[in-house]
Symmetry: C4
């Protein structure tokens, strides 16, 4: 029997560190005029994109654990697996940003997003299988359109980065915007389950 | 329905990391005598200034969330928006310090302070709109003279950095000192609201 | 009389930072094609291995403190001693990975794993001596086969890295897999002790 | 009215990060044999010393806040002041270690220890003045021999680093050992105050 609070605190700590150390990739420009900031534009844009993605993961992770009651060893390792892929985001963000969204780094960025999505889905599955198909979380997730669509879109983005990197870039931005729309599902079901009691 | 405690813990984590990784910008001097510390004076001073600013933000954020009762998705993202701009402080601190407060870095430092102030104000507005104009927080903020004056002063400081960087520097120090004076407003109103109950 | 919660929170923080800063050792490749990732394979593999080891330590530490009721000054310093050796993992991971598992770095990696195992065992001993041989923790640990076998295997791995580094590598992977099998002992005994009450 | 828990959590976070990022100063050696570790000996020794000092500060801070009941704005800023000087420890540790305990870096290390000791004493004074001379904390601190002796010893160590660095080094080690002896004072008084109630 594990303590959900410590799992939350550890995940929060790791995500907070990941989201913050990305900024260490932004080295001071060599010049001292405003023009010397210009070559950093792609570094900055890739930082913004990754910041938003990590914010979405933190937000969704928060909701999912809110609806979790029991934590097993399997859930704990599924969670570490998700944190592993998220921890690679600063690396691919730096590589993509420093090279002005060159095709290969942009494709590899998509691979890490894809693996993070799969490991998130896997964590969700582990929690649901522990709580049952009738649980609050299972009802809240429902059809999980977004969760199923995102990895498919990443799989399209990865090869298309070699056609033109902005196709991949546009897909990454689209998926982020899709998730930014607040996910009312879990909140609503939680609310309903309280009323019905 | 979200958990205020986890929002606080995550924000604390991110601010603690930001305030600490700034020191990574302070590379060991090349020399081994005391004189080799001298060129680091501007790095050190910019570190002190940013440390104080982050301390002020943590302090005020702490008070604001203390008076917060409900957290929505909008508040969560307004909070991430604030953390985003705060996360850029180590970058601009390093650029400004390494270049001995050259005009452009000093101006860009002001831009980040301005954006952080705007996003803080935005977060405050999101919390008040959730709690109502009669809430403890709304009463505590009151006219919010400091919150309104700070971005105006930053807007003056930014162009004046190109006239002479010490004008901008003096404004940044002045705003910090203005906030360092303890903000009794929220404490007092919280106290009053308890007594009146 | 100390507060177990703050000990947990501090340890979680340190382990979360250690597990995350390792990724800072993964510098962006110089090239911009997929082939430029190839020389990073050993860096990546050593990162995965250390991530798993730190996950195991976090997991076991979590269980051990769950069964802990009292924290003394001795326990606190035994815990800091463990964190010290864990904090060296990013250093040896980087050295081993950058040098494609060269013999000396691979052996030194084993030395750090060995010292971490010894300091973990020492912490466990300090907690048991505080709680008594009849305590939940002492019963749960039982014979502690894994805890005794691991340092012996590291002692075999260290010199064998100079024969061939893959012997040591295989031993490190074997020990990690041995621990990944979920440790039901503490969970079961905790459960039994509740039933019997 | 502030929340002691959030002050503890923030301080824990900052100290955990400081103690961990020091290891980032330990760059991978250039060679791949054991001999290439030898020049890192002074880096390693200075890391151990600073790790122990930060462990002592965390430990004492923990005890002090345990006996604290009310947190004011003044206490909060006194705490940030302490964290500021602690945050400089990785910088001076790196400078001292990389230069094999050269006189100036070793003296500056002492300056940071001295400032940390003064700011700790200042924080302690702020907490006592808030709680009264009859409070648990004031009684527990008592004469505070160690707290008064440490800054005096640092003041002796700083100039003596220019005579011979090992005099300063020996004093730093001596002060650390003096504090490592468990500080039973607060524990005992807390215990007594409970019994007498």
């Amino acid at each position: 029997m594990m303590d959900k609070r410590r799992l939350e605190a550890f995940s929060d700590g790791v995500i907070a560190i990941i989201i913050t150390i990305m900024v260490l990739e932004m080295k001071s420009p060599h010049g001292i005029d405003l023009a010397s900031l210009y070559p950093m534009l792609s570094v900055f844009l890739s930082y913004v994109l990754s910041f938003v993605y990590l914010g979405i993961y933190w937000n969704n992770h928060h909701h999912m654990l809110h609806a979790t009651e029991r934590v097993s060893g399997g859930i704990l390792w599924a969670n570490l697996h998700l944190l592993f892929w998220l921890s690679l985001i600063p690396f691919v963000t730096g590589w993509m940003g420093e090279n002005h969204f060159a095709p290969a780094p942009t494709a590899v960025y998509g691979v890490v997003l894809f693996m993070a999505a799969i490991s998130y889905w896997n964590l969700q599955r582990a929690i649901i299988s522990k709580h049952g198909q009738d649980s609050v979380l299972a009802t809240a997730i429902g059809k999980d359109y977004k969760g199923k669509l995102s990895p498919v879109l990443y799989l399209i983005a990865i090869p298309s980065a070699f056609l033109h990197q902005w196709i991949a870039g546009a897909i990454y931005v689209f998926v982020a915007l899709m998730w930014l729309v607040p996910d009312k599902r879990i909140e609503r079901v939680l609310h309903d389950s309280r009323i019905s009691k």
